[in-house]
């Protein structure tokens, strides 16, 4: 996973509530079993006038197509950003396009966790803070300090300590958890006596060679 410590970049704002992952990357733009090649389909329905027929004509009204958004790496939004489908492709597409930070007043729960899993930093701020950052000036985010701001204003934001640590280290969450393998195995051994009914199908199924059907 990409390590995140500190980032400075330009921001672009999409200040609507409930921007969902279908909008971030339409299903038809997910063409391969791959995390790559998704940036082209980012916000396809909004970004292009003719994406439905496979076209790529930029819609000049869409903020990402405007000059101020060139090289933007910070996205400002409103409530419930990334709600809807669990597709992690939304995060992969945003990252491939160049976004490093998404600041919004709240996030869809699965999208938020998907951001953490990939090193895209989700920052929860209130609406007035988002407005204060939406000035066209470069924004700096410091994950050690958990601060976000521009030359005018700076705000703190909260993030679970374990998530902060994961992002700062760039470690895989799987490797972190595998350090607890002993605890996990002890828990399962005890669980098999407490909840034998969870495991009973595994013995029945061992005689059912369904993979040859």
């Amino acid at each position: 996973m990409e390590k995140f410590t500190r980032h400075t970049g330009n921001a672009v704002a999409l200040l609507h509530d409930n921007i969902n992952t279908d909008q971030i990357i339409p299903s038809r733009e997910m063409k391969r079993v791959s995390k790559q090649g998704l940036a082209d389909g980012l916000f396809a329905n909004l970004r292009y006038t003719d994406s439905a027929s496979g076209g790529r004509t930029a819609d000049p009204d869409f903020p990402l197509n405007q000059a101020h958004a060139d090289n933007a790496s910070i996205l400002l939004s409103a409530a419930n950003f990334g709600c809807g489908s669990s597709r992690e492709h939304a995060v992969w597409a945003l990252q491939e396009y160049g976004f490093k930070v998404i600041a919004a007043t709240s996030f869809g729960s699965i999208f938020y966790d998907n951001c953490i899993a990939n090193g895209l930093l989700p920052v929860v701020l209130d609406g007035t803070q988002i407005d204060a950052l939406n000035t066209g000036k470069p924004i700096t985010v410091d994950l050690h300090q958990r601060t976000i701001g521009n030359s005018g204003r700076q705000f703190g934001f909260s993030l679970d300590a374990s998530k902060q640590q994961l992002l700062l280290s760039g470690m895989s969450a799987i490797d972190v958890t595998l350090e607890y393998t002993g605890d996990i195995n002890t828990f399962i051994a005890r669980d098999k006596t407490l909840r034998p009914w969870v495991y009973s199908h595994q013995f029945i199924e061992s005689t059912d060679n369904e993979h040859n059907t």
Partner: protein, 475 residues
């Protein structure tokens, strides 16, 4: 499991799976079962294979093909998505290579993940289940702690049999009053989302409780929990009761006969204790609710079917832009009545409303009737088993005689994946869960409702008030 008077259902589910708790309030939980589909499961499996990480317990993993399977009658093609075969082929190869349970497209157990999980006894009360699909919250209806995840967290669950969840707030939604015969769980959940907002329960686990929930059959409870994600919740749960036990007993992947008594005792002890408290309590009297239909492009844009489309709400002295955009996208003006809207298509299907009882109730409305001229009507059973059961009861004949296409099971046109769609500006009444812009096709206008309202609207050729339908079955 001991019953503690001050402990909630969710607390008990979490505690019985908690391997470790961390200083920031997050917990490492044991994951009992994982479900995968071709669209998002394959990327998780291919990453694990590339990283040479083994799946700890392949027997706890269940795969199927639902999202982009061809659902037209007889499945003339493999996938409804142009190029979609790569996902289906990948799922087949991976599931077999890794020795996972796999219900292929022609397996009688195939179907939408959230329909087959209860049907096959994969989802059970008192277990944790995850799936890289946002509607996994559906399964909370059984007292399963089930939630949707991304593909990377799915790799984590497969490689470690655990997942870490953050500290969550708890919200109890108590449904009281007397539900009219025609009122469905779908109307109730749409009403709740519209009343409170699509982000209302962000960061919360919802427990649905109260006499109206107790009176619902399991399939209605599945519909209720299915749309918990549309109100922003992490997931939803309902305490197991006698109906749950009756539903779960003798399912293929459920407890063996010898372990059933311990399972039953465990499940009945899960209910929230009388002294437990929640971070927030919501109560809704359903007695006066009307059938609910969405007018806009978020499930929160919904009104009683007999109401007029509202003007955009004011936010900080300005008209809400997302509502203005929604009106434009839907081709509507404030003051228009939903019941004046002519429909092009009626769709019954999806993990929200495609179970046997949904199809039975829709068929009662369609029996002896005809879909209005010019309306395209489609019914997609949620699983192959639902399809077979419906056909054994003759429901397929009722649908087909009424003018519905009777398809093969899968997610179908709940979402557009390229290929055939409903068309630009086509107005669709749909028993699905999302009316997002473009969800069912470029510029397609989706109105979400119960399958009964979809069926009644199909007959009338416009969005229709189910309360004006002659007594079901009497026509």
């Amino acid at each position: 499991m001991t019953e503690h008077a001050a402990t909630t259902l969710f607390d008990k589910l979490r505690q019985s799976h908690q391997i470790r708790q961390f200083d920031d309030g997050s917990s490492l939980l044991l994951i009992d079962r994982v479900m995968l589909h071709e669209r998002t499961g394959t990327i998780a499996l291919s990453n694990l294979i590339d990283d040479k990480r083994p799946i700890v317990n392949p027997q706890s993993v269940f795969c199927t093909i639902d999202h982009i399977a061809d659902t037209t009658p007889g499945r003339p093609q493999l996938s409804r998505m142009p190029g979609g075969e790569v996902f289906i082929d990948a799922m087949r190869l991976q599931a077999r290579a890794l020795k996972l349970h796999f219900f292929d497209i022609d397996d009688p157990r195939q179907g939408i993940v959230h329909v087959i999980a209860p049907e096959q006894g994969i989802a059970l009360p008192g277990i944790t289940l995850v799936c890289p699909d946002s509607h996994t919250c559906t399964l909370g209806a059984l007292g399963t702690l089930a939630w949707g995840i991304g593909s990377t967290d799915c790799e984590h669950a497969l490689a470690t049999q655990t997942l870490r969840i953050k500290a969550l707030k708890q919200m109890r939604i108590t449904l009281t009053g007397t539900a009219s015969d025609w009122l469905t769980a779908k109307d109730i959940i749409i009403h709740l989302i519209a009343l409170h907002s699509a982000a209302y329960a962000v960061g919360h686990v919802i427990e649905f409780a109260g006499p109206v929930v107790g009176a619902m059959d399991i399939e209605q409870r599945l519909t209720l929990c299915n749309m918990a994600v549309e109100i922003g919740a992490f997931t939803a749960v309902i305490a197991p009761d006698a109906k749950t036990l009756q539903y779960v007993e003798n399912r293929p992947f459920g407890p063996s006969a010898s372990t059933w008594p311990s399972a039953r005792d465990h499940w009945l002890a899960l209910r929230t204790g009388p002294l437990a408290t929640f971070d927030s309590e919501v109560s809704l009297d359903v007695s006066s609710l009307a059938p609910a239909v969405t007018w806009g492009t978020s499930p929160e844009h919904a009104i009683p079917v007999d109401h007029a489309v509202p003007p955009p709400r004011m936010v900080d002295g300005q008209k809400d832009h997302s509502q203005i955009n929604a009106l434009t996208y839907m081709g509507l003006s404030p003051g228009q009545h939903l019941t004046d809207l002519v429909i092009d298509t009626a769709f019954i299907g999806s993990c929200t409303n495609s179970r046997l009882s949904d199809l039975r109730r829709a068929a009662e409305i369609l029996r002896g009737g005809k879909v209005a001229d010019g309306v395209r009507a489609i019914c997609i059973p949620g699983s192959t088993q639902v399809k077979h059961q419906a056909e054994a009861e003759g429901l397929d004949t009722i649908f087909k005689k009424a003018g519905f296409q009777w398809g093969e099971s899968g997610c179908s046109m709940c979402f557009f994946a390229g290929g055939e769609g409903f068309g630009e500006k086509a107005r669709v009444i749909s028993s699905t869960n999302r009316n997002f812009e473009g969800r069912q096709g470029p510029e397609t206008r989706t109105h979400i409702a119960s399958p009964e309202t979809v069926a009644w609207s199909a007959i009338n050729g416009r969005i229709s008030d189910l309360r004006h339908c002659p007594y079901p079955g009497s026509r």
